[in-house]
């Protein structure tokens, strides 16, 4: 009988520490499937963030470096410049990438650094216990915005894809979601495309994945997925913010 579904080779067969209902596991799988599809496991180097995915190096069967908080794009740059034939990706959360690591992500993007960034946006600091993130929605309650995010005093969420789309450097920017099977398929295609573009030497690619955090949102897993669909997506519209054609098709 033909095997139609298997454990990705690029994932190590280890139980993760992620909470029940968290979508990190799905996103890990999508990344591993992209690595398998492109046949790049032997030359891939991942960069783990500080945040819930800090132990990502335990879950992928590829070389990994664990970066300081927010510095993954700089670390990825160092690896990529030494081994241009390696496929280098960072896997970062919203606090890591859009708060403490804002300088690193902006400058890696504007350099057109030929790396891939998987940006997991769940609008909250997960690992540290549910504090306000740069992507926390207006009115959203967190442990450091217990009365709800008050835009009058702490300002507004940052839309990373839209922000990076103002730069000439990036080759590919897309926001996806993993709240249902149809969107998971689309997210997988986007992640695969981001890696394929790096393999083709097209430059900086980032896929923002809207992700759930049932634990820190205080919701059941099913409620959390519904929350992505009904509340996150209206604020963070899905779609392609920079298509590779815009960079590669100079004569179009």
């Amino acid at each position: 009988m033909k095997k139609v579904f298997a454990y990705p080779r690029a994932l190590s067969q280890r139980r993760t520490h992620y909470c029940p209902g968290c979508t990190h596991g799905i996103i890990h799988r999508l990344v591993a499937e992209a690595i398998d599809d492109l046949g790049i496991q032997e030359r891939t180097v991942g960069i783990a963030p500080v945040g819930c995915a800090v132990l990502a190096y335990d879950y992928f069967d590829v070389d990994f470096q664990e970066a300081a908080h927010g510095r993954a794009p700089a670390v990825a740059t160092g690896v990529k410049r030494v081994h241009p034939d390696a496929v280098v990706f960072s896997y970062q959360g919203d606090g890591d990438l859009a708060s403490i690591g804002m300088a690193e992500i902006i400058h890696a993007a504007t350099r057109g650094e030929n790396i891939t960034v998987i940006f997991v946006n769940n609008t909250v600091y997960g690992m540290t216990g549910g504090q306000m993130a740069p992507t926390t929605l207006p009115g959203q309650k967190t442990t450091t915005s217990p009365y709800g995010r008050d835009t009058a005093t702490v300002g507004y969420p940052i839309r990373v894809c839209e922000l990076l789309a103002t730069l000439d450097g990036p080759a590919y920017l897309e926001r996806v979601s993993v709240h249902d099977p149809q969107h998971i398929l689309k997210a997988g295609q986007a992640i695969r495309k981001a890696f394929a573009l790096q393999v083709a030497g097209k430059g900086f690619s980032l896929v923002e994945v809207l992700s759930s955090c049932p634990t820190n949102w205080g919701m059941t897993p099913a409620e959390a997925l519904r929350h992505i669909k009904e509340t996150l997506i209206p604020y963070y519209p899905l779609g392609v913010y920079r298509a590779p054609e815009e960079v590669t098709g100079g004569d179009a």
């Binding site: 496991q41 032997e42 030359r43 891939t44 180097v45 960069i47 783990a48 800090v54 132990l55 190096y57 992928f60 069967d61 590829v62 070389d63 990994f64 470096q65 664990e66 970066a67 300081a68 510095r71 700089a74 670390v75 990825a76 740059t77 160092g78 690896v79 990529k80 410049r81 030494v82 081994h83 390696a86 496929v87 300088a103 690193e104 902006i106 400058h107």
Partner: protein, 354 residues
């Protein structure tokens, strides 16, 4: 081999390239700009990478990535910039990533000034960032040592899988002297522990410094301390000039050792018995020779451009506070030969030999 006149900063940069360094990540700050500017010109000629980072913080993390990928990698900065790099240096030490960091020190604290200073001694030798770690720290005494010690620094960084610092200052960096350069080396980035992609290895290579389980972190720290003990036992370097017959030994490194040498030469013409002990490694520190000289009845004068940092290590080595005198200039001016000469003369007369 030919002798060429070079600024200290440029001698150091060319010395790094000759030693096989092909990756430089840095950020502008005075008085070290000759190093990144030299690298920006020179790296493309040797197939290397020069990249100006968006900050010192990013530069040191690019160093982490490149060093963890197995390359000989360099960054340079000056005091305020070195402070910004401390987070990264702690991670480099924790993850045991080899690299070389140059501090062309200037006066502090805060924004300070552009004049030479030795007030970053504590930061370089006692930690600087968080956690229990040590850097191997070299202090060049002339442009030739800028070349020689940077080459040695890369070898030692790889041998111990540890960051190595070159601590120098604005005078040493800006002064021109003749140097002999070694032949150009090429060193492939292919360390067995490096993150290159698995490329046929059965297990992934991981570069990290996380130890969530207490016992694991303690084991990692024990391994680090054992490594530092090996470094302390094997890597001490110093220059001892006339210390055996001396009544008074001046202890100084880098710029102040040059001032002290001139003062000592004048005193020797007057038949005064004065020696110079110049630490070349600031960590590990040459404690043993100090202990031996103290036992032999010598007295000591520490000359440094700080409020008193090196002097603490000298007191520890001598183990007798009464035998150690201190002459410090505070972050901005350099001791003159006359000042050091006068200080030595007065110490010798206090001791009855004047």
């Amino acid at each position: 081999m030919e002798r060429v006149m070079m600024k200290g900063n440029e001698a150091l940069a060319e010395g790094a390239i000759r030693a096989g360094c092909r990756y430089f990540f840095g950020y502008p700050i005075t008085p070290q700009n000759e190093i990144p500017e030299y690298m920006a010109r020179r790296m493309p000629e040797v197939g290397g990478v020069f990249l100006q980072a968006e900050s010192e913080v990013s530069a040191i993390n690019m160093v982490y990535g490149a060093g963890g990928a197995g390359a000989r990698v360099l960054t340079s900065s000056s005091s305020p910039g070195i402070s910004l790099k401390q987070e990264g240096i702690s991670y480099l030490a924790g993850a045991q990533v080899p690299c070389v960091i140059v501090n062309v020190a200037r006066g502090g604290p805060g924004l300070g000034g552009l004049n030479p200073s030795q007030a970053d001694y504590f930061q370089a030798t006692k930690g600087g960032g968080h956690g229990d770690y040590r850097l191997l720290v070299y202090a060049p005494g002339n442009a030739q040592e800028m070349v020689d010690l940077i080459g040695l620094a890369f070898d030692k960084a790889e041998a111990y899988r540890n960051p190595v610092m070159i601590l120098t200052d604005a005078i040493m960096g800006q002064m021109m002297e003749p140097v002999v350069l070694p032949p150009l080396r090429t060193v492939a980035p292919d360390q067995p522990w490096a993150t290159t992609g698995k490329r046929g290895r059965s297990k992934p290579n991981i570069i990290n410094s996380l130890g969530l389980v207490g016992e694991d972190l303690e084991r990692i720290n024990r391994e680090l301390q054992a490594k530092y003990a090996r470094m302390a036992a094997s890597e001490v370097r110093y220059e001892a000039d006339g210390v055996e017959e001396a009544d008074l030994v001046v202890v100084a490194y880098g710029t102040t050792s040059r001032v002290a040498r001139s003062a000592i030469a004048r005193l020797r013409q007057e038949k005064k018995k004065v020696g110079l002990l110049r630490p070349i490694t600031l960590w590990p520190f040459p404690q043993q020779i100090l202990a031996e000289l103290a036992t032999a009845g010598k007295r000591f004068l520490v000359v440094e451009m700080s409020a008193g940092q090196l002097v603490e290590d000298v007191i520890l080595g001598v183990n007798d506070r009464e035998k150690v005198a201190f002459f410090g200039k505070l972050n901005g001016t350099v001791p003159t030969v006359r000042e050091v000469y006068d200080r030595i003369r007065s110490l010798l007369s206090e001791g009855g030999e004047g």
